[in-house]
Symmetry: C2
Subunit: 547 residues, 2 copies
């Protein structure tokens, strides 16, 4: 299955707290049980403990399959042993391509027991996008459930240049996956895996036109799981309806808290109204992956005659019809909003930490530190807008195979989130938006996203963008490009005054041009085109990358 | 203040997961901010974050002193800088001798910022016991508040052989402590301290007649704090009345959860009924260090006329009079019992984890793994009695300066707790009692504590002990020494049958002798004396150490 040594030098390893370019480093994360570090708990250890402490509880339900904690642990041991026999080692990647399945969780915990990394890939991507991921992650093993994805998969395999990966088909009870699993011994090798080593790879933020995989460690996942148990008030009596896609970090933020506490996850392959209702009734589900508005409306409509008893489900308030069907969630997490990203294993700041706050995004959780910094990395005073940087046990180890990007965004010991925000006087953090371009006017740094948000809050404005144009005195000054709201004719002065009331004076646009629509690409404003049309560009002193 | 190099070789350092004999290792835990590990959060980092996120909240109240989170952080920075200037380095010990004071917490966080270790010592000890601790911990700095301890301190200093320690008096607002603190710069050096390095030293279990200091790391304290926040349902709106002694780990299990969440700790120097009532009313305290029965009775009596409004206080149910004064606690922790020790940062297993359980001690928390093992360290099947061993992020790094004991009780990667117990069929853990002697009868291991517990449960038995006596066939067999309950005359056969009904047959005593009282030393059964009196001893195959 593997040519030893081949590819090792080219493989980037992101070990705890820093990134290195040799896979060899990751190998050191795994040793035999002798010299076991007392304080280390891997996600494999957690499954081993669950087998012992939760013999009576159901870990996963997936269609007709019901796995108790002991059975789940045994299957992951068999799978890990089979993968080890096939040559898989610590630091190696496993790709999961398929709709929701408990097999994705089995692969995650089997990877945990080996010190390997699981990447559940977005199957909604185009064949070319999928082929990019297949080539980028350089997996030794690709496990796929082709049902419903036959054409995409075929095209992606044709486009992909990956040759060393072994493909295993996971469909059915007598397919390759089950045969592979059954070939593994049930005797747990009990390898010591460094809890700081990466376990879950989630493709996220696009840089230079391609997504990158954030690497989340065992301890990041475990610490965030316990924090989420606290915020969502979860325990072993909870059953999570996993209707969100398993390539999305969000579902793990419910699966893992329940896994550490003895709760049950019910895996839904489809996320339609009827499936959600049926499974909720059947399994008495108590929590669901945050449901989209349209889905809540569909369920409310479908269940008008109350044929489904959804009262076990704890959710946020939505509408009188919905609220009457479910149980309203009074957990801490339900009281407000949060800010975070996949690179921080989800939520970093939470409304309600440290009581109420000016910002609806609240304050940092105990497992992460937040700073607002300028472009040199120096901390900014309260109220000043800059980039949000974080560090802590829930922060990703880095991106897979992105040496330059890692140096740029993780290199100084803080994760640079590319999100801008500010600290309020009461210590809370206001998230303003993705960084985008920064404009330097005189000595002042101005983030267009902050000014655009203020412009869009004006009742006569439908859309707005801000660019920097050459200025004799200030090097650059701000120009706003505004799409008036239907039937409105705002004036330049009116909008500049509006900005001056809401922002520091140097952040106000010096001029406003009106247009019928803004150039956008994949929903994002195309600043290059805007600059061409309206005489902007250059952005001296600022980043030229648009996130 | 310090002779460089002197004593370094003799100083035992317990770094994360293993123990070493050279202090030099601990020094490596601290580096300058360059190369900062992303995933590392020390207790000093937490205070730095609190300064930013909780500018509006009160961290500590101690008499007339009220410290906001920013002010507390600034004071710990000044103190850390002053200590560094005086020569204190990572791995060095600071001793706190004094009744409850916020200065003990300031020293803890200052130590955290330097990578040093704080030991708050039991001031109720005799001068000789105190002198033993002073010599054993080999502190560079001893901070003492002599108020109420003048005679003990004087005698302890005379007995102590420690010569290199600098003594600083902490009494009053214009004493040595405040002068030292004021001499330190308010500029935070922001040293990187390994979260796995020890921070808090708590003297606990006596071995060979002397106590040993368990070393708890930053991450052990932080992880347990978040778990306790979950179990006790704590947040920033909570105020802890710290009436328990600050040399006891228990108080930190409330102080630290509130510290990570923005709550307030009110420090009581005295723990009498009047003080508790007065502070509860004055600060609207919501949680208190578990109050002793006698104290609850005293408060109930004192407050018969309801002159104190204690309704803010959330406690367990006790008596109708008490319950009517307070708010009953419905947190997860209030629903049942737990098992743990100082060496595990408190609770390891908790009733309610994984729903109900056969054992009132429940199941392990997510930050620790538990096994029941035989004397070779092999895991025992469900239902069999053995030693409880643990590992995980909340487990101590080891004992200070106890090379042999560490090898024995932490050496194989598991903390051997010296507590015996068993796993129930539902995965819960029953804690039976401290290990004591083990008796080997034939090939069977028998822990006297288990049999003694069964004997004492008989209505005709006031007290009981079990020893091993020579047996031709089984090498040893069990003999019970029983003190009958007043007015009762149990027979040998009756008690043997009682044991047989409750225990595996091989665990029943073969003979019973009756006596008027058991020889005890410091409350513990003196097995050596029992053996002499009743023909026991030897314990082939078992430990000869009585814990």
């Amino acid at each position: 299955m593997r040519t030893m040594g081949e590819g090792d030098e080219a493989v980037a390893d992101v070990s705890r707290g820093r990134w290195e370019t040799r896979a060899a480093t990751a190998r050191h994360a795994v040793t035999r049980s002798t010299g076991r570090p007392l304080g280390n708990i891997s996600c494999g250890d957690l499954s081993r403990e669950n087998r012992r402490r939760f013999p009576h509880l159901t870990a996963f339900v997936d269609g007709a399959t019901r796995l108790s904690y002991p059975l789940f642990d045994e299957r992951t041991t068999r799978l890990a042993n089979a993968l080890a026999a096939a040559g898989l080692q610590a630091g190696d990647r496993i790709l999961w391509i398929g709709k929701n399945s408990v097999r994705c969780m089995e692969l995650l915990v089997a990877a945990a027991k080996l010190g390997a990394i699981l990447c559940p890939v977005n199957w909604r991507q185009s064949p070319d996008e999928l082929a990019f991921v297949i080539d980028d992650i350089d997996a030794l093993l690709i496990v796929c459930d082709p049902r419903g994805l036959e054409d995409t998969l075929k095209a992606a395999r044709t486009s992909s240049r990956a040759t060393r990966a072994r493909w295993v088909e996971a469909a059915g009870e007598d397919g390759e996956y089950e045969a592979l699993l059954a070939s593994g011994s049930a005797v747990d090798l009990d390898l010591v895996v460094d809890a700081g080593s990466p376990l879950l790879a989630i493709y996220t933020a696009a840089h230079d036109g391609h997504p990158s995989a954030a690497l989340l460690s065992h301890s990041a996942l475990l610490n965030q799981a316990v924090w989420l148990a606290y915020m969502y008030d979860l325990d072993a009596s909870d059953t999570f309806l996993c209707a969100g896609p398993m390539f999305h970090l969000g579902v793990y933020l419910f699966i893992l808290p329940l896994f550490v506490l003895g709760g049950t996850t019910v895996i839904a392959t489809r996320a339609d109204a009827e499936t959600i209702c049926r499974l909720t009734v059947q399994e008495r589900c108590t929590v669901a992956f945050p449901l989209m508005q349209y889905l809540i409306d569909e369920i409310t409509e479908l269940n008008r005659d109350a044929r489904y008893d959804l009262s076990s489900l704890r959710t946020s308030s939505h509408s009188p019809g919905w609220d009457a069907m479910v149980t309203l969630d009074h957990s801490r997490a339900a009281r407000g909003s949060r800010w975070g990203q996949s690179e921080t294993t989800g939520g970093v700041t939470w409304y309600g930490v440290g009581q109420d706050s000016q910002s609806r995004f609240g304050r940092s959780s105990p497992f992460v530190l937040v700073r607002v910094v300028d472009e040199t990395g120096a901390e900014l005073p309260v109220g000043e807008v800059g980039e949000l940087v974080v560090r802590g046990t829930v922060v990703a180890n880095g991106y897979w195979n992105r040496e330059e990007l890692n140096a740029e965004t993780f290199g100084d010991g803080w994760r640079h989130t590319s999100d801008i925000g500010k600290r309020e006087a009461d210590g809370s953090i206001t998230f303003i938006g993705p960084k985008g371009n920064m404009i330097k006017s005189g000595v002042e740094n101005i983030y267009p996203v902050e000014v655009e948000r203020v412009l869009r809050s004006h009742p006569s404005v439908a859309d707005a963008a801000v660019i920097g144009v050459p200025d004799e005195k200030w090097i650059q000054s701000l120009k706003a490009i505004v799409v008036p709201a239907s039937g409105c004719s705002p004036t330049q002065d009116e909008l500049i005054v509006h900005c001056k009331q809401k922002l520091a004076s140097y952040k106000k646009p010096r001029s406003v041009e009106f247009t019928e629509s803004l150039p956008r690409h994949d929903g994002r404003i195309d600043y290059d085109e805007l600059n061409r049309r309206h005489g902007g560009g250059g952005y001296p002193g600022g980043s030229t990358r648009s996130y």
